[in-house]
Assembly symmetry: C2
Homo-oligomer: 333 residues x 2
């Protein structure tokens, strides 16, 4: 059996390279289908690797001297830091030496690098970043949450198409529903972009378009695939994260405020843990950048080894399901 | 002492006229400064009023035959239903017979009616809907959350100015901070609207502009006044509502799942109640539509008598603080 090869930007993220290397080790140790190429400062990576046991065939190290910082302007960073861990990892995908790249580094740099280094599939106008967000019914795909803002209607239609293919193959649900994020469900509601996109989505074949959905319905699982422009998607995603975390913090403070509530907390702990897990926006690992010639997965900046491991493993099903081939077939041809 | 006169759209909202009438009675019974004019179907209103005791001088009924439904297209409804409770209530403000109008009816109709019937202050380009949202530090004003989408940079600058005046006077905080809602704090981040608005806000005198803020920081109280375009503001507001409610529902389900957690729930109840109250987006009553010749307050569609009462009482401080006069002075002149 041929292994899926994942190039991991070992230097990207708040806890790199400790957590990135550990995540890679955990991924290869728990799945025989994966090989990880760790890209970054060789000495630092080797020092981390020395802490663990793993099958030597499953991990390779490729040196890269530079690191793209969160402060770097994305386009300049990709063009000027050609020997950065992110760019070197992306080149491995471009050159066919790896199937996928995973990075917890700068979102902007990943988006720019995905387009400039890995390259878009022919016919794809704009590659969207598509994370899963938790709902009471499971997960919905929020597409686009990237930094490529001010999209046009035809971009949103491609997001709907790519999102449907991705959702169907990763979640195993045939004909997933597609909703357009809007400020009301009535026909006249929406900004100009949404109004111009509606008729195109209605006409679009091969997707299960169900109309506009309001933001208050997202968490109730109103649609499997939620199409929106990146500025709005990014705002919703980060607001989700911020509100869920803040509510947990406030709940915690309240629960620790008296002896009575402290005792009660011991008894309700399983329910609290369940809630925290249910509304954890990072539980599904990374978000793919769809429509590229290879797979690019963006993991959260504060990913620990657990999220890095999930993001690496995501690449397996993406590759096995032939998602890129299906996107090419249905959109690009 | 002269009373503040509030025209209440008694027929607007999910629980009208029962809850609207009760809210009006509670408002006048608990504050000697208020007179409410109940506008709507006289027989229905009188039947509700008959249930309560109140000072007859504090409540008046003005008949209006029609009702604007949630399904009505706003502009058409305002133009064609001239004898609707909303339009009649707004005319009372226009004609100087009332200081303010409160409605829990269709947001779109309230926005259109505010502009067409009550009228904009001279120099105000677009009246924004500005609700308070709860944060861990208190409340932030999210301006604009209306349905007047696709704003221009100069509109956002006026939102910042009006929002500052409103916040300062209602919350009693001098020189409130103003943040621009964005997808990152770095200078190059943002969509075209945000990029074009940044330099204007930096130059704008009389506001305490602190730069871009990310959506994940809203709930942490990153800025007192959060400026955004209405499509985005509306999405954030409704998402807030939806996520907070859904998280409470899920928590409740988890807490009732076993005998152990049920016992614990009894002990932690005060903490849960506190949390629910803290993240209740409707706790501040209604949202004002700023920049009009009179005060227009939009209450939530599912307002009960409690929220209606708060919304009516809001009008008192708005009027007493002379917020409209201050807006005129600092922006319109």
């Amino acid at each position: 059996m041929e292994k899926i090869i994942v190039a991991l930007d070992a230097m990207g993220g708040d806890y790199a390279p400790e957590q990135t290397v550990q995540g890679a080790v955990n991924a290869v140790n728990s799945s025989g289908e994966i090989k990880v190429i760790l890209v970054g400062k060789q000495d630092l990576i080797q020092a981390e690797l020395a802490k663990y046991e793993y099958n030597g065939d499953s991990i390779e190290v490729v040196h890269a001297e530079e690191i793209i910082d969160m402060g770097d302007v994305p386009t300049a960073a990709i063009k000027n830091k050609k020997d950065s861990s992110l760019v070197v990892a992306m080149r491995l995908v471009r050159d066919g030496k790896a199937d996928a790249v995973v990075s917890a580094g700068s979102t902007g740099a990943i988006l720019v690098g995905g387009q400039l280094v890995v390259g878009r599939l022919k016919g794809i106008k704009r590659p969207p970043l598509a994370p899963f967000v938790p709902t009471t019914k499971g997960f919905s795909l929020l597409i686009d949450c990237g930094a490529n803002v001010d999209a046009r209607p035809e971009h949103l239609v491609q997001f709907a198409q790519m999102g449907s293919i991705y959702y169907e193959n990763v979640m195993g649900k045939k004909n997933p529903t597609v909703g357009l994020l809007n400020i009301g469900t009535e026909e006249e509601k929406g900004n100009q972009l949404v109004k111009d996109t509606k008729p195109l989505l209605k006409e679009c074949k091969g997707i299960n378009y169900i109309g506009s959905i309001e933001s208050r319905e997202i968490v109730r699982g109103a649609a499997d695939v939620i199409v929106c422009e990146a500025f709005v998607g990014n705002i919703v995603l980060k607001f989700f994260e911020g509100l869920a975390l803040t509510m947990f913090d406030s709940l915690k403070q309240g629960l620790l405020s008296s002896l009575r509530t402290k005792i009660g907390t011991l008894l309700v702990k399983p329910a609290l843990k369940g809630l925290k897990k249910q509304f954890d926006t990072s539980s599904q690992g990374g978000a793919p950048l769809l429509g590229l010639k290879g797979l690019v997965v963006k993991a959260h900046g504060n990913s620990t080894c657990k999220e890095i491991e999930i993001a690496i493993k995501q690449c397996v099903s993406f590759k096995k399901q032939g998602i890129n081939e299906k996107i090419k077939e249905s959109i690009c041809d």
